[in-house]
C-alpha cells in the first residue's frame, strides 16, 4: 500500500523545525529514522499532512560524556550507534544491551533513540534501560527547553508529554555510582526481529561487603500503558543482603507492579509471571557483575 500524501520539510535548524510544527499545529509529525512512523503511516494508523525531517539539523546525533553531567545522547543517535559505542558498552552497558535487541541490523541503522521514545510504544526496548538509569529527556521549543524525567515523558501508548511544537533533542543519563551493574532482559518468541512480550531492566549497586544492595532501580516494558519503574520492588532490595528470598520477593513485587493487557503476543497472566522471572534473573545477573566489580575494587 502506498504511503499517504504529505508535504515534506527539511529544516536546517531546530528553531525552524519548531516553527514548522507550530505553523501546522497538530497536522505535522516529526520524522527521524522513520522505522516506526513510515510503517504506521503505511498502515494508516498515524496520519500526518506534513512531515518535518529533523535529521539534517546538526548536533543532534552525537554521544558525549563528562564526569560531571554524565552521558548525553543526541535524540538522532541510531540504535546501531548506541549498541556499538564503546563508551556506552563500557559504562552504560544496559543501554547497549537494550539497543541491540531492537529489530535487526537494518532497522538499528535507521531507527533513532529519540524516535523510539517519542513513538512511545509500551514495548520500546530503550525505555526500561533508560528508566532504570534514571535518564532525563531534554527538549527544545521556542518558549525554551525543558528537562523531563523519563517517567513523566510517557503519558500512554503512543503518547508523550511533548507539546505540539516541542522537540526531544537529547537524553541525559546521570553518572551512576561506581561499581553499579545493569542488565536488560527481553522475552520474545524469536531471537531477533521481535517486539518485547516483556522487557525488564535492572540496575543495582552493592555495598563494599559485596552482598548488601546499596541502590537498585527496576523498570518494566510492555506490561503497562507506558514503560514503568517498579519502585516497590526496588525498595525491597535497598539495604538488604541479596539472598534468594529477597530476590524472589522483589521479583514478585515487580510482577505486582505490572498492569499488562492480554493480546496476541501474550496473556496478562503470563506477562506478569515473566516479569517476575526476568526481574529475578536481572537482579541475580546484575548482582554477580556488581560483586565482581566490588572485588576488583577491593583488590586494587
Amino acid at each position: 500500500m502506498s504511503l499517504p500524501k504529505f508535504a515534506y520539510f527539511v529544516p536546517a535548524t531546530i528553531e525552524e523545525a519548531c516553527r514548522l510544527l507550530r505553523q501546522h499545529n497538530g497536522r505535522a509529525k516529526i520524522i527521524a529514522g522513520g522505522t516506526d512512523l513510515i510503517v504506521s503511516m503505511r498502515e494508516r494508523l498515524i496520519a500526518a499532512e506534513y512531515l518535518v525531517d529533523i535529521t539534517r539539523i546538526p548536533g543532534l546525533d552525537s554521544i558525549g560524556h563528562d564526569a560531571h553531567s554524565g552521558l548525553n545522547i543526541g535524540a538522532l543517535c541510531t540504535h546501531g550507534q548506541i549498541e556499538s559505542s564503546r563508551l556506552i558498552r563500557q559504562r552504560f552497558a544496559v543501554l547497549a544491551q537494550a539497543a541491540h535487541t531492537i529489530g535487526a541490523v537494518q532497522v538499528r541503522n535507521l531507527g533513532t533513540i529519540g524516535g523510539n521514545l517519542c513513538h512511545a510504544a509500551p514495548s520500546a526496548d530503550s525505555a526500561p534501560a533508560l528508566l532504570a538509569l534514571d535518564a532525563r529527556a531534554r527538549t527544545f521549543s521556542l518558549q525554551g527547553g525543558r528537562i523531563l524525567g523519563l517517567e513523566d515523558f510517557f503519558t500512554g501508548p503512543g503518547g508523550t508529554a511533548l507539546k505540539p511544537d516541542e522537540i526531544l533533542t537529547a537524553i541525559e543519563v546521570p553518572n551512576p555510582p561506581a561499581g553499579y551493574a545493569g542488565i536488560y532482559l527481553k522475552h520474545s518468541p524469536r531471537q531477533a526481529m521481535d517486539l518485547a512480550v516483556v522487557g525488564v531492566a535492572v540496575v543495582l549497586c552493592l555495598a563494599e561487603d559485596g552482598l548488601t544492595c546499596s541502590d537498585a532501580r527496576i523498570a518494566l516494558g510492555a506490561v503497562a500503558p507506558t514503560p514503568i519503574r517498579a519502585r516497590q520492588a526496588e525498595g525491597l532490595l535497598r539495604g538488604k543482603k541479596l539472598d534468594d528470598d529477597v530476590i524472589k520477593e522483589s521479583a514478585r513485587a515487580a510482577a505486582e507492579a505490572a498492569r499488562p493487557i492480554s493480546d496476541i503476543r501474550g496473556s496478562a497472566e503470563y506477562r506478569k509471571e515473566i516479569v517476575a522471572v526476568l526481574t529475578g534473573r536481572g537482579i541475580e545477573q546484575a548482582m554477580r557483575e556488581a560483586r565482581q566489580k566490588v572485588r576488583r575494587k577491593g583488590k586494587s
Partner: protein, 768 residues
C-alpha cells in the same frame, strides 16, 4: 548405478549467477509500455448478501481506466475439486478479503484511491467461524447450493461439509477388544501461511488478436489455464501463461484468481495490467494451510503392537473447497501413520467456514496428520515404557510389500532405514547442550511416510547446430531447483556438461503439458519426461551415426558432443555434424520427444469413500530427531539441533536436496513453535511479518541432513520425490522433545512458551 557423471553431483544451480547479481527477473520486475496498475476491492465482512456494488465514482476518478466486477464474468463456478469458486463474489461474500471488484489505473496510488470510492452494499448474515459449530444442523450455510455444485471426484457433500471421506479396514471395535491399552487424544493444528518472500504478482496483456498473455507465478500453469478457460469461457488457445523467476511457492502460488482478474481488466482497458499483492493481502486473500482437529483412538498390546486405530478428523476448509478434499484425503490416509495396524477406521470431514479458503502448503495434509500420529506414538511409548525408536521400528512398514490401509502395496520404502540412520547418528553424538536447573534438554523423534509424484509431464529436446541441446518442458521452477535437476538429467543422458544444456520452461504455449510444481512430482515426472526425450534424441543420433561409423547402434555411445564406437574412441562423429547432416540430407532437424505419466494406485473401493485422489506412485519417507532446550521458568523453547534423514531414492543433486531439508526443518520449527495466523470473528489479527513469526537466522539450529538412497525403479535414475517430506516430522519431533525435556504434552500447535509455561504450572500445581 556406477558411472554417473552429472546426476548425483551437487552442481551449482543453473539460475545461481543471475540470482546473486540481482539480474533475475521476477514478475513484479516486469514492465510493459502503457502498463496499468491493479488493486482489488475486498470484502470487509465475513458473510453477507451482496446487494449492490457501485463502481461509478471509481470509474469517474481521473486515471482509472477500467473497473471489473462479477458483472464482467460469466459467473461460472469453478474449482479443482469442488466447483464452488468465482472470480468475484456475486451473490454473497463468504470471507473477509474475498474479491468484490478490481480497478486498473495509471498508478498504484490512483488505483488505491479508486478502491476506496467503490461502495458495496451488504446485508450482513450470521457467520460461522468454528468448524465444529459449522457441523451443527443449525449453523448458517456458507454455500446453500452445495448439492448442485459439480465435483471433480465422487464427493460426499452436504450442508457445510464439502467433502466427507472415510476409510475402513478390519473391525476397530474388535481391535480395541484385543488391545491391552487404549489411548484417546485430540490434537489441534493451526493456520500457517506459506509466506513466500515474493507476494503474488500478475502481469496481463491482450494482443491484437484477443489472445491473453499472462505472466504469473502459478506453480501449476496448465491447471490454472484450464480453470481460467472454464471460469471465463475463453478457449485455451487464447490464454498463454508464462512464468519468469518465482520467489517461492510451497504450494501457495496457485494464483488463478489474480490471473483472471488481471486478464479481465487488461481486456477491458485494452492496456497491460499488473497486480502485485501487498503482504497484508497475501495474508488475507490467499490460501494458507488448513487447520485441523484430529482425534486418535488407538489400541495397543502391552508388548507394543498397534492393533486398532480410529481417527476422527475435522478440517476447516474456509469459504471454498480449493484443495481441501485432497488435502484431507492425505490426512485421512495418514491417520494410521506408516504402521501395520490390522484394524483402522477413519472418518474425515472438510467443513466450510467464513474464513479465507485454505489450500496447499508443503506437506499437503501430512503435517496435520503426523503431528497427531507421532505425538501419540510417544504418548503410548512413554506409557508402555518402550524406547520411542524401538516402538516405531516394531510397527512400521517394511521395505517391500507392506500394505497401506487403502489396500495398495508399497515397495522400495526406506522408512526403517531413515529411523535407524537418524537414531544411530544421535546416539553417537554428544548432547547439543548441557542441562541445568533452568534449562532442560530433551530429544524427540518422529517419522513419517508420504507419497510423491502425480500426473503427467512432457518434454522435448532439440539438437542445436553446434552439438549442444535445448530442453523444453512445461515445468515451473518455483525456487526449489528443479530447473537444475532436469538439466542434470538431460546432461547425464546426453553425455554432456550442464553448460551444454539450455532450458526453456514455464510457458504454456511453448512447453508440453505439465501438471506443475506440486506433490513432490517434478523430479519424477518432468525429470522422467526429459530423460525420455533425451533418450529419443540419442536414438536418432545413433541411427544417423551408425552408417557413417559402420557400427551397430548398440555399440555406440554419446559423450562430449560426439557419437563414438565403444572401445574405439577415435571412431567418432560430432553431434554438430550429425545435426547438420540430418537437417540438410536426411529427415530434417532432430527433435526428441518424451512423455511420462507418474501413475498412482487405486485404493480398494470397499475400504474407502469420498476419496479425492489416488495413491501416489512413489514414496518419500523421513525421520527427524530434534533436540531442544526448554526454559523451565518461562516455557521458552530453543531448538538446538535437528537431524533429518530422508529416503529420496537417487539423489540427483545433494546440494539442492540438503537445501530442501534445511528449509523444511526451519519451516517446521515455525509450525511447531511460533507461526500462526490468528482470527477473531473471521478477521486476521496478524497479517504482517511483525506478528506472524517466521524463524530468523538466529532461531535456526544446527541441522544435520542424512540422505538415504533406496532407489525406486519407477523414477528417473531411481529418484523419488523429495521436496515436501522435510517439513512433516519436525513439529511432532519437537513436541516429543519438549515432553522429554519438561514432561508436559502440548497437543495444540503452535507450542508457544506460554502454553508450555501454563502446562508446567498446572502439572506442578497438581503435584503439590
Amino acid at each position: 548405478m556406477g558411472g554417473l557423471s552429472v546426476v548425483g553431483k551437487g552442481v551449482a544451480r543453473v539460475d545461481a549467477l543471475e540470482k546473486v547479481t540481482g539480474q533475475a527477473k521476477y514478475v513484479m520486475d516486469l514492465k510493459l509500455p502503457n502498463m496499468l496498475h491493479c488493486k482489488v476491492k475486498r470484502s470487509s465482512l465475513a458473510h453477507a448478501r451482496l446487494l449492490k456494488v457501485d463502481t461509478s465514482r471509481a470509474e469517474r476518478l481521473p486515471g482509472v481506466k477500467a473497473v471489473a466486477t462479477a458483472a464482467d464474468t460469466p459467473n461460472i463456478r469453478f474449482g479443482f475439486y469442488v466447483k464452488d469458486e468465482t472470480m468475484f463474489a456475486y451473490d454473497k461474500v463468504r470471507f473477509i478479503g474475498e474479491p468484490v471488484a478490481a480497478v486498473a489505473a495509471i498508478d498504484e496510488e490512483t488505483a488505491e484511491e479508486a478502491i476506496e470510492l467503490i461502495k458495496v452494499e451488504y446485508e450482513e448474515l450470521p457467520a460461522v467461524y468454528d468448524p465444529l459449530e459449522a457441523l451443527s444442523e443449525t449453523a448458517p450455510l456458507v454455500h446453500e447450493d452445495i448439492a448442485s455444485y459439480q465435483a471433480g471426484f465422487s464427493a460426499v457433500k452436504y450442508r457445510n461439509v464439502c467433502s466427507h471421506t472415510t476409510l475402513k479396514k478390519g473391525d476397530v471395535e474388535e481391535g480395541f477388544r484385543q488391545s491391552d491399552f487404549i489411548f484417546e487424544d485430540t490434537f489441534k493444528t493451526q493456520v500457517v501461511h506459506q509466506c513466500s518472500l515474493e507476494t503474488h504478482p500478475v502481469l496481463a496483456e491482450i494482443d491484437g488478436s484477443g489472445k491473453a498473455s499472462l505472466w504469473g507465478v502459478s506453480s501449476m500453469m496448465f491447471p490454472a489455464r484450464e480453470l481460467l478457460s472454464q471460469a471465463l469461457g475463453i478457449p485455451m488457445t487464447k490464454i498463454r501463461i508464462q512464468t519468469v523467476h518465482t520467489g517461492g511457492s510451497f504450494g501457495g502460488k496457485v494464483g488463478y484468481i489474480p490471473l483472471g482478474i488481471c486478464l479481465l481488466l487488461a481486456r477491458k482497458a485494452r492496456r497491460p495490467v499488473r497486480l502485485v499483492l501487498t503482504r497484508q493481502e497475501e495474508f488475507i486473500g490467499t490460501n494458507p494451510r488448513h487447520p485441523s482437529i484430529i482425534t486418535l483412538k488407538t489400541g495397543v498390546t502391552s508388548d507394543g503392537r498397534l492393533v486398532s486405530r480410529e481417527a476422527r478428523i475435522v478440517m476447516d476448509s474456509g469459504a471454498c473447497a480449493v484443495d481441501g478434499p485432497a488435502v484431507m484425503t492425505n490426512t485421512a490416509t495418514s491417520a494410521p501413520g506408516p504402521y501395520n495396524i490390522p484394524h483402522v477406521k477413519v472418518d474425515a470431514r472438510c467443513v466450510y467456514t467464513n474464513k479465507q479458503p485454505f489450500g496447499a502448503f508443503r506437506g499437503y495434509g501430512h503435517p496435520q496428520a503426523y503431528f497427531a500420529v507421532e505425538s501419540q506414538m510417544d504418548i503410548i511409548a512413554d506409557k508402555l515404557g518402550i524406547d520411542p525408536v524401538e516402538f516405531r521400528l516394531k510397527n512400521c512398514f517394511e521395505k517391500d510389500g507392506s500394505e497401506l490401509p487403502t489396500g495398495h502395496r508399497i515397495y522400495h520404502c526406506g522408512l526403517k532405514e531413515t529411523l535407524v540412520r537418524a537414531s544411530a547418528y544421535i546416539s553417537s553424538a554428544r548432547p547439543a547442550s548441557a542441562e541445568n536447573k533452568r534449562w532442560r534438554v530433551g530429544r524427540g523423534v518422529a517419522c513419517m511416510l508420504m507419497e510423491s509424484g502425480l500426473s503427467g509431464s512432457g518434454a522435448f529436446v532439440k539438437v542445436n547446430d553446434d552439438g549442444t541441446f535445448t530442453v523444453i518442458t512445461g515445468t515451473v521452477d518455483v525456487g526449489q531447483g528443479c530447473s537444475t535437476v532436469v538439466c542434470q538429467i538431460a546432461a547425464e543422458e546426453l553425455g554432456v556438461d550442464l553448460a551444454d544444456i539450455s532450458l526453456i520452461a514455464g510457458d504454456t504455449d511453448t512447453g508440453p503439458y505439465d501438471f506443475g510444481s506440486c506433490a513432490s512430482r517434478v523430479t519424477r515426472a518432468a525429470g522422467h519426461a526429459v530423460r525420455l526425450a533425451a533418450a529419443d534424441v540419442k536414438k536418432q543420433l545413433f541411427e544417423l551415426a551408425c552408417d557413417r561409423l559402420e557400427a551397430n547402434i548398440e555399440d555406440l555411445e554419446l559423450r562430449d558432443k560426439k557419437v563414438s564406437v565403444t572401445g574405439s574412441p577415435f571412431k567418432s562423429i560430432s553431434v554438430a555434424e550429425l545435426a547438420t547432416m540430418s537437417i540438410f540430407e536426411r529427415s530434417g532437424p532432430i527433435l526428441g520427444r518424451g512423455a511420462f505419466l507418474d501413475k498412482g494406485g487405486v485404493p480398494l473401493s470397499e475400504r474407502v469413500s469420498g476419496y479425492a485422489k489416488s495413491e501416489g506412485p512413489s514414496l518419500q519417507p523421513a525421520t527427524v530427531i530434534a533436540e531442544v532446550t526448554v526454559d523451565t521458568e518461562t516455557g521458552r523453547v530453543r531448538v538446538l539441533r535437528c537431524v533429518e534423514s530422508q529416503d529420496v531414492g537417487r539423489c540427483i543433486n545433494p546440494a539442492t536436496m540438503e537445501g530442501q531439508i534445511h528449509g523444511g526443518v526451519v519451516q517446521g520449527i515455525g509450525y511447531a513453535l511460533t507461526e500462526e495466523t490468528l482470527f477473531e470473528n473471521g478477521r486476521i489479527l496478524n497479517p504482517s511479518f511483525v506478528d506472524y513469526k517466521m524463524a530468523t537466522a538466529l532461531d535456526t539450529p544446527q541441522i544435520v541432513p542424512l540422505i538415504v538412497e533406496e532407489l525406486d525403479p519407477t523414477g528417473p535414475y531411481g529418484a523419488k520425490g523429495a521436496g515436501e517430506a522435510p517439513i512433516v516430522p519436525v513439529a511432532p519431533a519437537i513436541a516429543n522433545a519438549i515432553y522429554n525435556a519438561v514432561g508436559v504434552r502440548i497437543k495444540e500447535l503452535p507450542i508457544t512458551g506460554e502454553k508450555i509455561f501454563m502446562a508446567m504450572k498446572k502439572s506442578q500445581g497438581g503435584k503439590e
